[in-house]
Symmetry: D2
């Protein structure tokens, strides 16, 4: 039974994580780390004063001593994540963190700190196992088929294009793919933008429509064939299996790992 | 049994049309109209002097008198199509023509001529029934769901983007759809071109990869749902069922019709 | 401004319908018809005694006299729908009903009653415009391409296969398609069931996986080409645009119409 | 420059392989091994007596001595492949073979022979890199998401269902996936076969339509998400990149490898 402390347990992701961990048979939530409600308890998403539920602490020192958790699941905001990870590592608690807000410098510092304490940890900007597999497979396929286009599709309330997942996929592919102009050398657009955005010769297309949730396909075209890797995310529940997997895997990690794709074999 | 004369019978499309018509049980090729080989015959794609096969004529007057065809299937080049259609209509032969090269003015003149002779005809820039259905359904759907994006995908030897089929689809949708900005009002592109080309608020994306042939999907997004109309063309054989359908339908037409979508109910 | 009375307003579909109608600019909810809470009001989904909100009636006679609605939107259960429709028609109120539970005999009786009162109405087993378009287009396409297979995909908590939408699609296609054996005449299955269910030669495949919501694609295969009509339903919000469309269209109907596909042109 | 001998060079696959190897810059065809035409030459697909082209040998001993090839590419029939591989291995020539016709016993014997001669080789039942990646990724994904269905789609002249690729994919998944009932425990079929074939709880669906070529998608459903791995094969040209890759990779192999997926990292 893995003992877990959760930070951000009253938030949307956090409250789902509490439920998911409580439903798993090999782990339990032993404490909630919060900035208020010290001494009270969290029960079915509500803060209670009658002692029923999971104890809430605002002092990490005290939390660590009284509940001795092995893993910290942090689903708070970028501003507090860094300090929380520091505290966890210093107390020998392995951090599992879902944020893309840490700077490269901060990740480096935390990596050094984890190494000093000989402890593993996982920072996962994306907890969806399906999305992580899509990205990892895209990188693998790019070694063999280097004509690639990405189509990502999201609801029409999304402001930025392309999506973070598409950008991350491009970055991962670029680690193994040499820059190469795709398409016909004399290609022209009779309507500007038709061929999409372009990075090192790869093209990226962003579709925005009401009704859509979050979808991406990566297309690899070779002579006479097409390989398509597609991920559809229908709701936030898709993150929970990744959180549980990270909690299990972090016990075996010997250093701070960035990206769920690096613990998938 | 419908009697057909073919112009362009020695070309790639034309030779396939001869085969397709000969294999159909309700029609036959009675003559070939050509600019050379007068008096010779076409047999299994070869010009023969021994009288075996379909008779070749370079004189339309003589052809019409001796073989009395009901329908002219013209699969030649834009330059000759106009004159061929004129000749056919003047001789009471209904033209079925597969070209997108006629000007609007020429189409108007031929329409007037056909009306004067009280005869029907069909000009079909696209003989693929599947593609025509996709376009027709797109127009119909646009009356009910007006958030629309088009993704067309072709082999990487195609020079222009977007494709002619995509442009035609946009035109047909625009006949029924009021211009409307789609996506988030404050939408931004962190990579230029990501959101594709834009016409009246609709977005069009052109994918080019080796291996692909000719594919298009039209996406309609509504609250909580997505309707996708997709056509895949794998080879040119896809045009022949449309040619046969047009030969049959032209007998019932009372005027010159432009576009196969207008004889589909 | 179309005046609407809603039956079933406290249910899941009904409460969404109240919201959707209140948000539309050309219609408003003037009354709620219920079996209890007479004289009270419905406000933001709550029954109130302070007179704020939409008035609730348990007596249809009184409701009709005091609020004079033009349209009844009934989102109750099959057992009460018949009587509610009768009452509405007798009071000159046009019914818009979303249920698949009425028998053919009941539909016939209501059709006769509506004709006697010279009033239109709409019974829609499926209010999703996207799904209805998919089915209607499938029927239209089947006139031209008669090699057809259906793949429907739903979450793994669905007990029955194939889905009601797939069955309805097959029925609509069968109205225009002659029975025809598809596939190779000597086709064999090395694993039983691989080729799916079969109706008049068409094949139907039911996929069940966690994560999926409700999806269907209808595939039409012709020489060298494939036409795919696909509908994805991501959540129940997809029904509301259909409800609003039916409320608007029912005013122009002159008889009782069964199926939203029959008011789509 | 890798020196290659080809067996089966006059066949459909073989003649394409000759062209592909001649077009590659890092390899050339130094000899053709055949059962007739000894001493003549193969030039642009034609057997010539004037000494122009690639020399044809019917005696492997002589071929090996005079042309000293490093790799044998065998695209003949299952009956001759075994003996050809034996000859190649005994002469220190690494075999690259595209056949699924060898028995397990024969593969074992050839593996032993290759080990004795300290030489590598590759037997590839499928040379399509895209198809092999789809199968390999399916196996990898099955470790993390074990609710899986396969939809394979082929032209309607295919007699057997499911396809060999689908069967192979199932086998590879079964190596890592524990048997598990999928779908609702009380699931019923109102039309027999709707849920497809079933192996260890996984479901397989075979679509057959005119127009289709060879397509497969493997669907992985998790909470709130779907991962789809899809391969489309449009024509036989898709095998050549795999042949070239195998010729390059076989030089680094230290034993006989069965399946292209085992040389992909």
């Amino acid at each position: 039974m893995i003992h877990v402390v959760i930070a951000g347990a009253r938030g949307r992701m956090g409250s789902e994580a509490v439920k998911a961990i409580e439903n798993a048979q090999d782990m339990k939530v032993v404490a909630v780390y919060d900035y208020k409600y010290d001494g009270q308890h969290l029960h079915n998403g509500e803060v209670r004063e009658d002692g029923q539920g999971i104890p809430i602490y605002t002092n990490f020192e005290q939390l660590a001593q009284e509940t001795t958790p092995q893993v910290l699941v942090d689903l708070t905001v970028p501003q507090t994540v860094y300090r929380n990870m520091e505290l966890a590592i210093e107390h020998g608690i392995r951090p599992v963190v879902g944020t893309s807000g840490l700077t490269n410098e901060e990740v480096d510092q935390l990596t050094t700190l984890a190494a000093a304490h000989e402890i593993g940890g996982i920072i996962a900007p994306n907890f969806s196992i399906g999305a992580v597999l899509m990205m990892k497979f895209s990188q693998m396929a790019a070694r063999y088929i280097d004509d690639i286009e990405i189509i990502e599709m999201h609801h029409d309330q999304k402001v930025d294009a392309p999506s973070g997942t598409a950008t991350k996929t491009v970055d991962m592919i670029n680690e193994v793919r040499t820059s190469k102009q795709q398409g016909h050398p004399d290609e022209t657009e009779s309507m500007s933008g038709a061929r999409g955005a372009e990075v090192n010769g790869m093209h990226i297309h962003s579709v925005r429509l009401p009704g859509l949730v979050a979808h991406q396909q990566v297309l690899f075209g070779g002579e006479g064939e097409l390989l398509t890797l597609r991920h559809d995310s229908f709701n936030r529940g898709s993150f929970m299996p990744g959180v549980l997997m990270a909690v299990r895997e972090v016990l075996a990690q010997k250093s701070l790992v960035y990206g769920l794709e690096n613990i998938i074999e």
